[in-house]
């Protein structure tokens, strides 16, 4: 018993306390932003943010004056469009990578990994010129295409790793029962990796929602995603930190919630390849 208590104390000192310190560092800035956004603008510079006097006024002003609703709709259309493009193109490719042997397979698979590593600045300039020539600047399409440059390679990798986790014998069994290859893929494999597809889709959604530089370069007056709106606000409402932090919280909210929902599965998929490799 005495031994048990001693080791609990030791655990608290060596594990719980350091962990709390790291968590404080991790969550502190976010909580500070949340607290600031709930403090009335007048008292922000006199007393500073406190937990005892929380108000919604900053959020009310945000939606009344800044017009965040339209920006969120833009972000939503772009992110959802990117998810559709990314998933439709990558699911069949991932099935192919997972189930067949063919020439250049390694090279092709590696190519998708490499794309993710190229500097964004290398793509952003030509994409701007291209969209300008096509007259697509300031449209949702331009931003969906731009975000797909990140989404497609990523989801090909994720989906390949998910499908690899489903035994090949299942396809074979379905084909013995009279399914063609494509039917086996559609009716057996896809339903089985639905959780993986959903996790990948949500990750693409978050990435596209959070994306900023493409949105800034290829967007404009008509299409202005939330990230650009937040950044513009920083310029316009320079010292109104209550309003600014409220914008930050709202802008980050959808991504944060979605992420907490899928983080388990997603982290599993992401780390699998690295651990095995």
């Amino acid at each position: 018993m005495a031994l048990g208590r001693k080791s609990t104390l030791k655990r608290v000192l060596t594990v719980d306390l350091p962990m709390m310190a790291i968590l404080a560092f991790t969550l502190g800035p976010y909580l500070w932003m949340l607290l600031t956004s709930l403090t009335a603008e007048e008292s922000l510079f006199t007393r500073g943010p406190t937990v005892f006097d929380l108000v919604w006024s900053n959020y009310e002003r945000l939606f009344a004056n800044v017009g965040f609703a339209k920006n969120m709709l833009d972000s939503f259309i772009i992110a959802a469009g990117t998810v559709v493009v990314g998933l439709t193109l990558s699911v069949t490719a991932a099935y192919s990578f997972s189930r067949f042997e063919f020439r250049f397979k390694k090279v092709l698979l590696l190519q998708f990994l490499l794309i993710n590593m190229f500097p964004l600045v290398l793509l952003i300039l030509p994409l701007f010129v291209l969209m300008r020539q096509l007259g697509l600047l300031d449209t949702h399409v331009a931003l969906i295409v731009a975000n797909s440059t990140i989404a497609i390679p990523f989801s090909v990798w994720m989906m390949t790793s998910y499908i690899n986790g489903i035994p090949k014998s299942l396809d074979e069994a379905a084909m013995t029962d009279g399914c063609s290859r494509l039917q086996a893929m559609r009716k057996v494999i896809l339903p089985l990796c639905a959780p993986g597809i959903i996790a990948t889709g949500i990750y693409i959604f978050i990435t596209a929602w959070n994306e900023y530089l493409y949105a800034l370069t290829l967007g404009g007056q008509n299409v202005r995603p939330i990230t650009v709106a937040v950044q513009t606000m920083i310029g316009e409402y320079q010292v109104q930190w209550g309003l600014l932090t409220a914008g930050g919280i709202v802008g980050a909210l959808p991504a944060t919630i979605l992420f907490l929902i899928v983080q388990r599965r997603l982290v599993g998929g992401l780390t699998q390849g690295a651990v095995k490799g």
């Binding site: 099935y95 998708f112 600014l244």
Partner: protein, 308 residues
């Protein structure tokens, strides 16, 4: 499913047709993804290379004059390029190790048994899910010279005597942003390393403690070799990612004050965005990419040797 193009030399007998179909199907399934990436990734990349060989300023769209390697020669005589290069090196050399060490410590803690472990593991990843614009916004507020909490805390503890304008001071701006980026990126290391730690069999540790190995020796001889593969991959991915990331800098300081937070990708981006000089901007982007590629190849070669 029948819309997949059938190649010209479709067999005369049905048997040959199916065999051919079997050969073509994997590629047919791949082709949409491959073709689209060719169109929206590789084609634009080639275009960047092409633009970098021309004099191309966007407000004079008629002029697209071939200048050969002149842009590249200019790059090496450009003082701002060397400043940005120095900052990029500092940026990578501090951020990545800081993220890795903090991530390692976090992963080791998360690998212990304690009651609220699942909550800690879920919360630690939050910075990773936030938009970089929001991250930049909240850290700008933290660093605010008049009302920021950092100055407030440091003044109260007594470390500072007067508040420092962290982002407006050329000596501190870069390091302030490096701290922000460390905060953003260390959860990635923590999660990757944790997965590595969990793949090390318990029996190794049991055997080692039977032999009387201390905790430190166990860490050195079992833990580190066990996670070396993950660590290798994570460092590679993060180096590339940190080198490329410029959105946080762009929002926090825009490269200023002066050139004190310019990194290479940011310089290339600003050159095109504010000066509309797409030719020179492309040359900067290409130079940066080649340098990064060199570092990646060097890293891969060194670590291949280390493994042998």
């Amino acid at each position: 499913m029948t819309s997949i193009p059938v190649p010209e030399q479709t067999g005369s007998s049905p048997g040959r047709g199916t065999a051919l179909w079997r050969q073509v199907m994997p590629l047919a399934l791949l082709s949409p993804a491959v073709l689209v990436t060719l169109a929206i990734v590789f084609f634009p990349m080639v275009q960047t290379a092409w633009m970098s060989l021309h004099e191309y300023v966007l407000f004079r769209p008629k002029n697209f004059d071939w200048v050969g390697l002149q842009n590249y020669l200019n790059v090496f005589q450009d003082e701002v390029f060397w400043i940005s290069l120095r900052h990029t090196v500092l940026w990578i050399a501090i951020t990545v190790p800081a993220q890795a060490l903090l991530g390692l410590a976090t992963a080791l803690l998360l690998n212990q048994q304690f009651p609220w472990r699942p909550i800690a593991r879920a919360l630690i990843i939050i910075p990773w899910a936030l938009p970089s614009v929001v991250i930049a916004l909240m850290w700008t507020w933290i660093y605010d010279s008049n009302y920021g909490i950092l100055n407030d805390l440091l003044l109260r503890i007594g470390i500072l005597e007067t508040s420092i304008p962290w982002l407006a001071n050329p000596d501190t701006a870069l390091y302030a942003i490096i701290l922000t980026l460390t905060w953003q990126g260390f959860p990635f290391f923590a999660v990757m390393i944790l997965a590595g730690l969990q793949s090390i069999p318990r029996s190794y540790y049991e055997a080692a403690s039977l032999d009387g190995a201390s905790a430190l020796r166990q860490f050195w001889h079992i833990t580190l070799p066990g996670i070396s593969g993950v660590l290798f991959t994570a460092i590679l991915l993060r180096t590339i990612w940190v080198a490329n990331s410029m959105d946080v800098i762009f929002v926090m300081t825009g490269g200023g004050p002066g050139y004190s937070t310019y990194t290479l990708p940011l310089y290339a981006f600003l050159e095109a965005r504010t000066n509309l000089n797409f030719g020179y901007g492309s040359a900067l982007a290409m130079t940066f990419t080649l340098l990064l590629l060199g570092i990646v190849i060097l890293y891969l070669k060194r670590s291949a040797k280390a493994v042998q």
